[in-house]
């Protein structure tokens, strides 16, 4: 990677302060080694930095907690990391309203604790201690609890966004219902930082449940277990359902975990019913996090979405191909981990996902393999629109260049 010119560094120091730039030993984003990090101290400085970067036509990799910086295509040309963690802090939390506002660099764990103390739950699932609010929204990250929480897109009420040009903008608002202008919040959520850098967000919170219960079963037949798990996920209080299937080998046990959350009487009733239906028993609340740790395990991990009724067929086909599976039946999503890192495994997963009415995304793979395929798989129909958006929001390719679907 060509190093940024001295003139650029001076300009960045001028607008963000000398402390904002740090040289360090190279950090790898895929196979791209970056040894310079720019950390604007506040949103105004972030805007000024982007203006400078835009003028210099210099690409950056936007970085929050860096818990999933590998997700995306290989960066095309990134001279530095743009660290958002200077934009941290819970700026507003209103227990009477069930909404809060925080800087994009705020760790999710901090925000979660803060609202929990006031009787509310942060409806964003990523547990990763280092994950930031901005990173979770930008990557549209959801885990098994999205079943109860809803998707990140449902939680975001408003965003402050610095565009690639440095223009600082707002969209949405702080109220729970709003159609004032285009819903750009939806566009930025899940855009992996390709369209703008999130500065801060207003979120809608969920009430804390009166009662939470974790159940676990050890079924032995994948197809039957999946069917049972899907039925469980359709219960009113099912907040998360996850089914883990190790790579197929005789006698390898499956694990099925169900988290119920809601009004006490409803949870009690459904616990009783599910303990019978799934032959499950109550376990420690950590069971779910333990299970989902498998999601990121493996050298090559693919996320496959599927229609509920075709999830079983997709799971069987992937397992036959040697994958270890973590399935979220109620969300129509599974993560398949392969021991061998071949492009074939991904293209097979793409085919399986398409046959199941969904799509596949390469979550994790060595950079060499990622250079051979688009990690977002097939997006043919919508690609011209995706490109038109990228070109307009980021005309000179400052933000995560090359990383979006279609290598935009």
């Amino acid at each position: 990677m060509t190093a940024p010119s001295d003139a650029l560094l001076q300009a960045l120091e001028r607008v963000a302060g000398a402390d904002a730039l740090a040289h360090h030993t190279p950090e790898l984003v895929d196979d791209c080694a970056i040894s310079l990090t720019l950390r604007p101290p506040d949103a105004a400085a972030l805007g000024r930095c982007l203006e400078v970067l835009s003028d210099a036509r210099t690409g950056v990799v936007v970085r929050g907690g860096a818990s999933r910086l590998g997700l995306g295509n290989v960066p095309r040309a990134a001279a530095l990391l743009l660290d958002t963690r200077g934009l941290a802090g819970v700026e507003s939390f209103e227990p009477a309203e069930g909404v809060c506002r925080a800087g994009a660099g705020t760790p999710l764990s901090v925000l979660r604790e803060k609202v929990r103390a006031g009787g509310w739950e942060l409806p964003l699932d990523p547990p990763g201690a280092g994950s930031t609010l901005g990173g979770a929204i930008a990557s549209g990250a959801f885990g098994p609890r999205a079943q109860g929480y809803g998707m990140p897109r449902d939680a975001v009420l408003g965003l402050d966004v610095a565009l690639a040009t440095g223009a600082r903008t707002r969209c949405g608002g702080r109220v729970v219902k709003n159609v004032t202008g285009y819903d750009l919040c939806k566009l930025y959520t899940g855009s992996f930082g390709a369209l703008g850098v999130l500065e801060a967000a207003w979120l809608r919170l969920c009430p804390l449940p009166q009662m939470t219960v974790m159940l676990e079963a050890r079924p032995d037949d994948l197809d039957a277990a999946l069917r049972a798990a899907l039925a469980a996920s359709r219960r009113a209080t099912a907040r998360a359902v996850a089914l883990h299937a190790p790579a197929a080998r005789p006698g390898a046990p499956l694990r099925s975990v169900v988290e119920l959350a809601g009004d006490s009487v409803a949870v009690e009733d459904e616990r009783a019913a599910l303990c019978v239906a799934l032959e499950a028993e109550e376990v420690d609340p950590s069971a779910l996090d333990e299970l989902r740790a498998q999601q990121a395990a493996g050298e090559l991990v693919v996320r496959v979405s599927a229609l509920a009724t075709r999830l079983g067929a997709a799971a069987a086909a992937l397992r036959k191909a040697g994958a270890e599976l973590l399935i979220y039946p109620g969300l129509g999503v599974l993560y398949a981990s392969f021991a061998a890192t071949t492009a074939n495994a991904f293209s097979l997963a793409v085919d399986i996902a398409v046959a199941a009415g969904g799509a596949a995304r390469l979550e994790r793979a060595p950079a060499a393999l990622k250079r051979e395929v688009d990690v977002f798989g097939e997006l043919a129909a919508a690609l011209p629109l995706q490109r038109a958006l990228k070109v307009r929001f980021d005309p000179v390719g400052v933000l995560n260049p090359g990383r979006s679907a279609g290598r935009l």
């Binding site: 209103e94 707002r170 109220v175 004032t180 129509g332 009415g357």
Partner: protein, 476 residues
Amino acid sequence: MPIDELRSIVGAANCLVSDAELLAYECDGQTLHASRPSAVVLPGCRDEVVAVVKACRAGGVPFVPRGAGTGLSGGATACDGAVVIECSRMQRILEVDAENRFAVVEPGLVNLALSQAVASLGLFYAPDPSSQLVCTLGGNIAENSGGPHTLKHGTTSNHVLALELVLPDGEVVTLGSPTGVVHGFDLVGAVVGSEGTLGVVTRATLRLVPIPDCVETLLGIFPDVVTACRAVGLIIESGLVPAALEVVDDRTIAAVEASAYAAGLPRDAGAVLIIELDGPARAVAVQIERVEALAAQAGASRVDVARDEAERQRFWRARKGAFGAMGRLAPDLYVHDAVVPRSRLPEIIARVCEIGDRHGLTLCNVFHAGDGNLHPNICFDRRNAEELARVVAAGEEILRACVAVGGVITGEHGIGSEKKEYMDLVFDEADLEAMKLLRGAFDPDGVCNPGKLFPTTRSCVESNPKARGYDEVPFA
């Protein structure tokens, strides 16, 4: 104007051009921004929509998608001599997948028809605008419509999984997936609520949800509307999520009770609050007790629980008959729409009434209180220019008051022609420029539903790509 070509595409019977025919299309439910289209076409299928769009492009004429015309912000009004593409003939349900809980429909299908069609499967389509007997799903998608049950079940945006869209250049794209898992930029999310400015929706895959085990409807009687709003605040703060929380004020009650919609409400009630709870029966039973306690704490004089379906319908009649009842008070009804943080409802509702009174207007409130979504309705006669000026002035004051407490200028009816000049109460130039970037990606020439959403006081012309350096971009 390519009239002959339009006729040959949709058939003469489905191409309206006479003055008498076009009169009905001068406006939607918002009558103050009338403008006559140059023609109205009623395509019968996607391919006809494509052909119409291409003919309009070739003829240099803009076009406007339209559903049932019940919109309340002038969204379906034809600016700049546009051709109206009315989707009402495209009203088939193409697929119902009960197991995967979605339906694929054409845009002209009436909202309620979908819920009726899937009821036997134990499912329904959740967004329920009060106009659901007539409004179309295409219109709902364009406006991101809500309804009384949005509080728990979400707005239209939460229920659209995939869309087929005819782009302004006549290309057809499919966005999203019936799995609901977004892949790439969330284009479905961007199109929902885009007020018909990004293309014509020709097919939609919509989420269906199971009919809840148990639904209970409560009617809280309050001494005044401020107290009712206080109860709403206590309920939200408690963490309860009712299916609906609707406030009807004394002025509306009086109008309803004097009309054919009379629901037997106590005439001396200062306001009523309709509370609907749904979910597992045992949980709902406990929630009823919690709601009763909170309502009493706020100052309710009484809370009744509907004993049967007939009584439940009667409670709702107060809400659903409100527009019809108010229609009897004056020739015109201005249905306003704004949102405030829910905890600010008590002060803002007092302020709204004060504004109406000060301008000497008949103003009634019936609204989605749980979402903080106000609907101050002003009865007036638009032939009275002086009264009309007061209506407009009061409306603007209300919007400003809502924005001042952190609210926005529309929660479900959209900006359209009606509120575009108020966009700058909420957004600055840079914010609007970002919205134009989205517009430009779909409709670079601004031919799809022009004259909406963006203020005209500033340049409404799409930004010139050259000026932004798009010719030099590294993507080709």
